[in-house]
Symmetry: C2
Subunit: 126 residues, 2 copies
């Protein structure tokens, strides 16, 4: 039912990830281009720098936490439904943040499907 | 630097996870008891039932997505700093939701630490 892209970026330009305004601009663009549907978004500015951003999606959520002092971004894209928008959002995040090092894991969140006896396809609250 | 508890619950009483009001009450209680620090929270009510909830924490985030029709909850607790509050929150979520089946993964989010040459301990934006 669900795909969860868990990624870490290293070597990101701190100017892109220090202040909410700039990071939000980037993330809004990524969401718009990805095909994901944002319901709401919330942000927090850490001082002296660093951003947390979470987008509630009709497909689940996308979150970004930044540590500009380490040029580091931790991101999650968890979606139900088709995989493509989540994978597209990940590609767009790579293009935008241009990290020097990427670590990426993809986890399937399908416990309820594994535990069903029927063969009907899982639904997604969209 | 960070711990990420990724869990799925199956066999959860749908009454606890169908409407924002009830689920929020449970999650607010879990956050308060866990030692985690919520900065803000956002919720979405799916119709006819189902809840998405994301808490932005000073330690990162906690998210819950529910599919009451499958008695299913997907949850994430991602925190920087000490592991204990995240693990405590997970225990409290198990107590509250009383799932019949649990699948849990713990991921370390420590890419920047693995790529440093120094031995200094990672900082957390707290």
């Amino acid at each position: 039912m669900g795909i969860h892209v868990i990624a870490e970026f290293l070597g990101v330009n701190p100017e892109k990830i220090s202040r909410v305004e700039k990071t939000r601009e980037i993330l809004d663009r990524v969401i718009a281009k990805s095909g994901l549907n944002a319901i709401s978004s919330s942000f927090h500015q850490f001082e002296p720098h660093g951003v947390s951003a979470v987008y509630l999606l009709s497909e689940s959520h996308l979150s970004v936490h930044t540590w500009p002092e380490h040029e580091y971004v931790a991101l999650d894209i968890f979606t139900c439904g088709a995989d493509e928008p989540a994978l597209k959002a990940f590609e767009l995040l790579v293009e935008e943040f241009q990290p020097k090092i990427i670590e990426k894991k993809i986890i399937r969140r399908d416990l309820y499907e594994k535990n069903r006896s029927s063969n009907t396809k899982g639904t997604c609250s969209l």
